[in-house]
């Protein structure tokens, strides 16, 4: 049974063990893609396939945002014709896709990652450089999804320097 976790709850009561950073994959040029290589730190926490699927979906979204084609040219030319004033009232295609990505990440966090004590950070908050995955310590049995009962150390969410990398 997947419980939908309150992510704030997770951050407050569990303690941050470490963070993993999925780097960018530049083999296709400068477009925004992330490496699908499975980091060893996640080995015991999440199935490889689930992780790869998430990253591949994200890559697909970014490819859609940066797609060069008829519609992007149209947007570019229209914007140029209005001396770019149209951006004061209209959202660009890229921004729309970024919103979709943010909703997707939240959904993934709620359904898949939080129950496993993990938290994905939207790459846009890290300058599109990395996908940051925070790994929280699993106090109880590894399979279950309980947030660790509050011990004194409390939370250290992304703001504090977590225990470096192991």
């Amino acid at each position: 049974k997947n419980q939908v976790h309150n992510l704030q709850e997770l951050r407050r009561s569990a303690s941050l063990a470490t963070k993993v950073f999925i780097q960018r994959d530049y083999s296709d040029g400068t477009i925004c893609q992330f490496q699908t290589k499975f980091p060893p730190e996640l080995d015991s926490r999440i199935e490889r396939q689930l992780f790869e699927e998430t990253v591949k979906t994200l890559n697909g979204f970014y490819a859609e945002a940066e797609k060069i084609g008829g519609s992007s040219y149209l947007e570019g030319c229209l914007a140029c014709a209005t001396a770019y004033f149209i951006f004061l009232c209209m959202e660009t295609h890229y921004e729309k896709v970024l919103k979709k990505i943010s909703r997707y990440i939240q959904e993934q966090n709620e359904k898949i990652f939080a129950p496993r004590g993990l938290l994905l950070t939207d790459p846009v908050e890290r300058g599109m450089r990395v996908i940051e995955i925070s790994i929280y310590e699993d106090r109880c049995s590894s399979g279950s999804s309980s947030s660790g009962s509050s011990s004194g150390s409390g939370s250290s969410s992304a703001g504090g320097g977590g225990a470096g990398a192991r």
């Binding site: 963070k19 040219y73 570019g76 890229y94 320097g161």
Partner: protein, 364 residues
């Protein structure tokens, strides 16, 4: 009885951003620190066009056609709009790595370099990547603590890594990079057209009026004409040349930085992997491609730490036009030789004003 309204000061992220940028309008506007030459650019354009509209246009509209000032106005407005867009927008600054991320990368680097035998100098921090079947090196930026994406470069004037870094332009008071290159190009293009237009019609005006009242009388009546012609003449040589140079770059999908460093030219160098091989495609991508939004999040609100309420003051969070300088940043590590390519606009194509820095940078 007056009510004391205590306003909490909201700290926005732009106030704490590292780098040597100036922010205005509560983070909406972002420029380099030195803005003197930008004000000069504004003054020259506004001044020349004001003189043109005030004097020559009135005569020419009557004598020739009212369309003349209309076109001039359109060109003027377009070039001002693109200038302000270039100057005020985020060129594509890559935010610096947070401490966790920096530590993670350092660890990775140590792990990779661990294989270096004793007694040898530790290798420079470079990662090799393959793009479209060609090897491209990624350099590590000591200031920003990241591996720079391909085509990104660190601007020493603004102290930021900028994506698809072209050059730092003092005339627009900002770096030119991925997000504002098209505005910059359209600005110099429209400015070239405007300059040619004003120059041409000044000549026409002088010619027409001289026929009636003589050359010297014409100059005495509208002395501004001489000024306009002079400004346009010098601007022509520089801006039109620059436009030609950038048209060449756009057609080949190159940046000024790459052109100056000769990244893709020369016998043993690789070909530009970013070019589509087709001029039209390159132009379309550079000028009409999708526009990535800024990842700096200047107007995001920082979590309140200690800044609680302040004594009431008027207009604190409303947009103020006074530039706020962010907190000064750390010094550049001497190992990092940042590219400094400010383009002098006097000669086309632009020559780098500081060759020694370029040479020393080399391929570390």
């Amino acid at each position: 009885m007056s009510v004391m309204v205590v306003r909490k000061k909201v700290t926005r992220k732009w106030e704490k951003l590292p780098g040597r940028n100036t922010f205005c309008c509560d983070g909406r506007v972002m420029m380099a620190r030195q803005k003197g030459i930008f004000y000069l650019t504004l003054f020259l354009i506004l001044g020349t066009c004001t003189l043109f509209f005030a004097f020559e246009c009135r005569y020419l509209a009557v004598q020739l056609s009212p369309a003349i000032p209309v076109f001039a106005a359109m060109l003027f407005l377009f070039s001002m709009a693109t200038l302000l867009r270039t100057s005020f927008s985020d060129p594509g600054v890559i935010p610096r790595a947070l401490p966790d991320e920096a530590a993670f990368i350092e660890m990775e680097i140590e792990a990779t370099n661990g294989a270096v035998p004793q007694g040898q100098r530790p290798p420079p921090r470079i990662k090799n990547f393959q793009i479209n079947n060609q090897i491209v090196k990624l350099k590590y930026c000591y200031t920003c603590k990241i591996f720079r994406p391909p085509r990104a470069s660190h601007c020493s004037i603004c102290d930021n890594c900028v994506e698809r870094f072209d050059h730092h332009c003092p005339w627009v008071g900002n770096c030119v990079g991925k997000r504002n290159y098209r505005y910059f190009y359209l600005f110099i293009l429209s400015l070239s057209l405007l300059t040619i237009y004003v120059f041409a019609f000044n000549i026409v005006y002088v010619a027409l009026k001289s026929l009636k009242i003589g050359f010297l009388e014409t100059l005495k009546e509208t002395p501004g004409t001489v000024l306009e012609v002079l400004i346009c003449f010098f601007t022509l040589w520089s801006v039109v040349g620059l436009t030609g140079f950038h048209t060449f770059l756009v057609a080949l999908n190159q940046t000024t930085n790459e052109d100056i460093k000769g990244s893709w030219t020369g016998k043993n160098r690789i070909q530009n992997p970013y070019s589509h091989g087709n001029i039209v495609k390159n132009c379309c991508e550079v000028l009409c491609g999708p526009l990535p939004p800024s990842v700096l999040d200047r107007r995001g609100i920082l979590p309140l730490e200690e800044s609680g309420s302040r004594p009431p003051s008027t207009q604190e969070t409303s947009s103020s036009l006074l530039p706020h300088s962010p907190v000064p940043t750390e010094q550049l590590n001497s190992n990092e030789m940042p590219e400094d390519t400010s383009t002098p606009e006097e000669m086309p194509p632009p020559e780098p004003p500081e060759p020694p820095q370029e040479a020393a940078e080399a391929e570390k």
